[in-house]
């Protein structure tokens, strides 16, 4: 209470200084009146005498009033107000300076605030789950495939769960797509197929209803679903009577039992509903049935390292116990790191570093501006000191000015950041997680204010201290009839310019490296065409298409129909998404070749006839699949050139392979042989920056997987044909939706969008930094030239020709630039390594990039120095000598 009273008193005083003074006067007046009355009554004095006595007893009224004001702290604010008023007056007098300074600071702070809010949302802010930092993803570390984050088989996962001592929850889930029907248009939705324990690990709390339990995880009682807030609002109008209603998922009816809040974005942001995980009997016993993700929660007090060691030990025991587990370890990743992966983290930190450098450069520019101004105001300062202003008072006055400048810049910067945050999500790649949570919140504003404050102090303190430290006599001498500019000021200013240029070299190098990465990726041969290709996903519900014959019939009819659409050149299907997903893989044995322990697994993917032609893949040997490769005919495969190198060094066509390694303990001789009928040129099917793996394609008719990516080669704009393709699908099955209709080029650019995003940002900031630094360099050279007008005049009067004078000025400026560039290159050698995770096909110390950054800067700073030099060369000696 007392603390509150004190606070209230202070705030009232500061907010209403006039009222405070009036009340103090009134109070003292009241005191004097009462005393006067008392004196008059007690001592039989005249009223005047009494008033006089009261005054004497009170003491000096003015003195005590001021002392009271002193105690209240108002005097300090008086001075501050005075300084601020003075500062604003000087700002108004030099509008040009103020505009340039505020704009520069605003650019720096705006960029920093915008990027920091992205970093805050994606990295610093915790995930919206209680104790999210203790939630961990547990992966299989598949050393056989070099995949550190691979999925588990159910028996392995259950062994990990039973034998570990560090996790309080650990259970399985999968992500699945469903065709949602029964409420309007057939709709493709993504679902988490989860064990109820996953809800516990994430402390899920439904908005309404009850989450399903472990009892629901068996056939018969699994007909339930939990829906997300988004689906609840769009499909059910957010009504509470949704509980107990039925929805059709892949043609199967499920009862809605609960609604989870929109913040519950697990396993991914696109997840809209959750159904119980039912593990088939076969998967419960088969240790090589890899299809389960796992999430768990650290027990209280258990560290991540302890959990890693503990689970690692369990995995090692399993590897010794079961031969099929050989080379399988465990990877434990905290959920926050999983959501925003290491590449994105690095990208964000790098970009934050870049904007911080831009802010530094902006600060340096303003510091230089202030230094020049301080030099111009030396007379004023000298006069004020001569009149008795203390050093402290002068420093405070100048600091007030620079803090006000930075505050103005900060406010403008926040406006800029607000604008930038509206545009940024549109430029950002669509798969950037948690984008919706980005915004200017309390943390961002606090950090921005701090940055603004530090900024103001940084660029204000140096000039302020310098100009107040100046000695009266020296100042008077220097601003008198001196010949050259003061040495100290020159050194400081040039040092600042050199530091700026060094920073710009680093930024340009970084931007250059990202640009080279980007160009390298653009040139990477995908091995297939991306032009005029329409892709769309079709997932046939297993409940409706139980026989593979039904699946084969559907796609056969579909391809037949699509190929007749006018404007379609060809069409085909592939089982696994191109450019993102990795197809299933397994160990194989090639006929007549002894398997080796270091054999990599081969990926297998089903394709329709016509698929390879449609995407323009090249058959380099043997034949393509034909309509006669059907179920029932001999199993055949087409392998890629990489697989030929690995398994069939003497030619693949006509050779045979089968699943399972001959070194495995499990008997693979039961598996049928598959004959290689053709060889296709290598394709970077999982992405431009991913390596080519040993790969085999099987005829769709022999795999008959219900989910396919339909690829259509069109004559003109592929997206124009989407309605026709959708109609073709409906004609065969009216309840069947298509999803993710996009061109192959869109798919490709989505894959590299993050790189383009970071390259664009870093590049834009590097150009901004370059511009700022050049303005700074130009400004300083111009200023120094104007200070040396007199010296130049003398030189020319003594016979120096204009060319010589210009060279002198340029040489001076370039010496500074040279130092800056050399230092910048040295720093780059060390700093760019931090971003090496973002580079592809280029070394962080790439000499070409470093060299071009240096040369670019050399050329433009020569220009920045040449312009003032030319002005110097035109100095008229007579005018120069007469000046001042």
């Amino acid at each position: 209470m007392s603390l509150l009273a004190a606070l209230r008193h202070r705030i009232r005083t500061l907010l209403r200084p006039r009222a405070y003074e009036r009340e103090l006067r009134e109070e003292i007046d009241f005191h004097l009146t009462l005393d006067t009355v008392d004196q008059a009554a007690g001592l039989r004095n005249t009223l005047d005498d009494a008033r006089y006595a009261a005054r004497r007893r009170f003491g000096n009224v003015t003195r005590y009033s001021e002392e009271t004001r002193d105690v209240s702290g108002l005097r300090f604010f008086d001075m501050l107000r005075q300084d601020a008023r003075f500062a604003f007056r000087t700002f108004r007098q030099s509008k040009g300076f103020t505009t340039v300074a505020v704009t520069t600071i605003a650019l720096g702070i705006g960029a920093t605030a915008a990027i920091f809010s992205v970093v805050d949302a994606l990295i610093l802010k915790p995930l919206p789950y209680p104790e999210a930092d203790r939630v961990v993803m547990v992966w299989m570390d598949n050393r056989r495939l070099g995949l550190t984050e691979d999925v588990h088989s159910y028996p392995n996962l259950m062994d990990l769960k039973a034998q570990n001592r560090s996790l309080s929850y650990l259970n399985a889930y999968r992500e699945a797509g469903f065709n949602l029907t029964g409420s309007g248009e057939p709709q493709r939705v993504y679902a988490g197929v989860v064990s109820a324990e996953v809800f516990s690990a994430l402390s899920a709390r439904p908005i309404i209803g009850q989450l399903f339990t472990a009892d629901n995880e068996k056939t018969g009682s699994d007909g339930v679903a939990v829906i997300g807030e988004g689906l609840w609002k769009t499909n059910f109008g957010g009504r509470p009577d949704v509980l107990g209603k039925s929805i059709q998922l892949n043609g199967r009816s499920r009862t809605i039992v609960a609604v989870l809040p929109g913040t519950f974005a697990f396993p991914s942001e696109r997840t809209q509903l959750w159904v119980p995980l039912v593990v088939p009997d076969q998967a419960r016993i088969q240790r090589t049935w890899f299809s389960y993700w796992a999430v768990g929660k650290l027990k209280p007090g258990v560290s991540l390292e302890q959990a890693r060691a503990d689970l690692g030990a369990v995995a090692k025991r399993l590897a010794e116990q079961y031969p099929s587990n050989r080379d399988y370890g465990v990877t434990v990743t905290p959920l926050p790191e999983q959501v925003v992966g290491p590449t994105l983290r690095t990208t964000l930190w790098v970009i934050l570093g870049v904007v911080a450098a831009v802010l530094l450069i902006a600060c340096a520019n303003v510091a230089n501006l202030l230094l020049s101004r301080a030099a111009a105001r030396e007379r004023e300062v000298t006069v004020r000191m001569a009149l008795g202003a203390s050093h402290r008072r002068l420093v405070r006055q100048m600091l007030t000015e620079s803090l006000l400048l930075s505050a103005l810049g900060g406010v403008a910067g926040i406006m800029l950041a607000l604008g930038a945050l509206r545009i940024l999500p549109r430029l950002a790649p669509a798969d950037l997680p948690r984008m919706s949570t980005i915004g200017l919140n309390g943390t961002v504003l606090l950090v921005t204010s701090l940055v603004t404050l530090v900024t103001g102090a940084m660029f204000g303190l140096v000039p302020a201290v310098r100009s107040s430290r100046a000695q009266l006599s020296e100042n008077l001498r220097e601003s008198g009839r001196g010949g050259t500019a003061g040495r100290g000021g020159q050194r400081l200013r040039r040092g600042i310019v050199a530091a700026q240029l060094a920073l710009v070299v680093v930024l340009l190098t970084g931007a250059g490296l990202l640009l080279r990465t980007w160009l390298t990726l653009q040139r990477v041969e995908l091995g297939f065409s991306t032009e005029n290709l329409l892709t769309t996903t079709i997932q046939l519900p297993g409940a409706k298409y139980q026989q593979s014959a039904q699946v084969v019939q559907f796609y056969d009819r579909l391809l037949e129909r699509v190929r007749t659409i006018p404007g379609v050149e060809s069409a085909g299907t592939i089982e696994t998404m191109l450019l993102s997903a990795t197809p299933n893989s397994t160990n194989i044995t090639a006929e007549g070749r002894e398997s080796r322990r270091d054999d990599k697994e081969m990926t297998f993917d089903g394709i329709s006839t016509g698929f390879l032609n449609t995407i323009g893949a090249r058959i380099v040997a043997g034949r393509n699949f034909t309509d006669s490769d059907r179920s029932g005919t001999a199993p055949v495969a087409i392998v890629n050139e990489q697989a030929v190198k690995s398994y069939f060094p003497h030619g693949a066509v006509g050779k045979r392979l089968r699943y399972g390694s001959s070194t495995d303990a499990t008997d693979s001789t039961q598996n049928p042989w598959i004959t290689v009928v053709g060889v296709v040129a290598d394709m970077r099917r999982t992405g431009v920056d991913k390596p080519v793996r040993d790969e085999a394609f099987l005829p769709f008719a022999q795999t008959a997987s219900p989910g396919q990516l339909l690829v259509v080669h069109t004559q003109r704009d592929p997206l124009a044909l989407v309605p026709q393709v959708r109609r073709a699908v409906r004609e065969i099955d009216p309840a069947q939706p298509i999803s993710n209709a996009q061109t192959m080029e869109q798919m490709l650019s989505g894959r590299v969008a993050q790189r383009r995003f970071s390259m664009t940002l870093v590049g834009a900031f590097a150009v901004l930094a370059l511009t700022l630094a050049l303005i700074g360099a130009y400004g300083v050279t111009s200023y120094l030239v104007s200070q040396r007008t007199r010296e130049i005049g003398i030189r020319m009067a003594l016979g120096a020709d204009p060319g010589r004078v210009a060279r002198l000025v340029v040489r001076d400026g370039m010496r500074v630039a040279g130092v800056g560039i050399v230092v910048g290159v040295l720093i780059s050698l060390f700093v760019t390594r931090l971003a090496s995770g973002l580079l592809y096909g280029v070394s962080p110390r790439d000499p070409l990039t470093l060299g071009s950054a240096g040369v670019t800067l050399l050329v433009v700073s020569a220009l920045a120095n040449y312009l003032p030099a030319r002005r110097a060369a035109r100095v008229d000696p007579l005018t120069a000598l007469r000046q001042d």
Binding site: E23, E27, N60
Partner: protein
């Protein structure tokens, strides 16, 4: 209680008013004493400034003859630290006056000061009697 301090009285007449230049140890002691007297007065009832001065003068038998004005910086200091609260009210003559009330923290501080003061006095008393 205040009447119990004869050793303090003789030289306080001139030096009781806090000097303008603040900072010396003696100033702090005097400020502290005045604060203590004000707080003690306010434990009886809320008072305005003039009443506080008169109360101190009356109870000390006119020995504490401070300059009245020095009360106001002291009151500001006490308010700033949350030891008293000032509120405008109506005086018996009908004029507006600012009445000061001691807060809980004020009472606590007063208690601490008084016991510290008592210890000093007891010590001085012992030395004087022993001599």
């Amino acid at each position: 209680m205040i009447a119990r301090c004869p050793t303090y009285s003789n030289h306080t007449l001139d030096t009781m008013t806090p000097a303008r230049k603040s900072g010396s140890a003696q100033d702090e002691l005097l400020k502290g004493t005045l604060d203590m007297l004000v707080l003690r007065s306010l434990t009886l009832q809320p008072m305005h400034g003039y009443a506080i001065v008169r109360h101190i003068e009356r109870l000390s038998g006119g020995v504490f003859n401070i300059e009245h004005g020095s009360l106001y910086p002291a009151l500001e200091r006490l308010q700033k630290n949350g030891l008293v609260v000032g509120k405008w009210g109506e005086s018996p003559t009908g004029r507006r006056a600012r009445y000061y009330t001691i807060t809980a923290a004020g009472r606590r501080t007063l208690g601490e000061k008084v016991s510290a003061f008592d210890r000093v006095l007891a010590a001085i008393d012992g030395v004087m009697k022993g001599a």
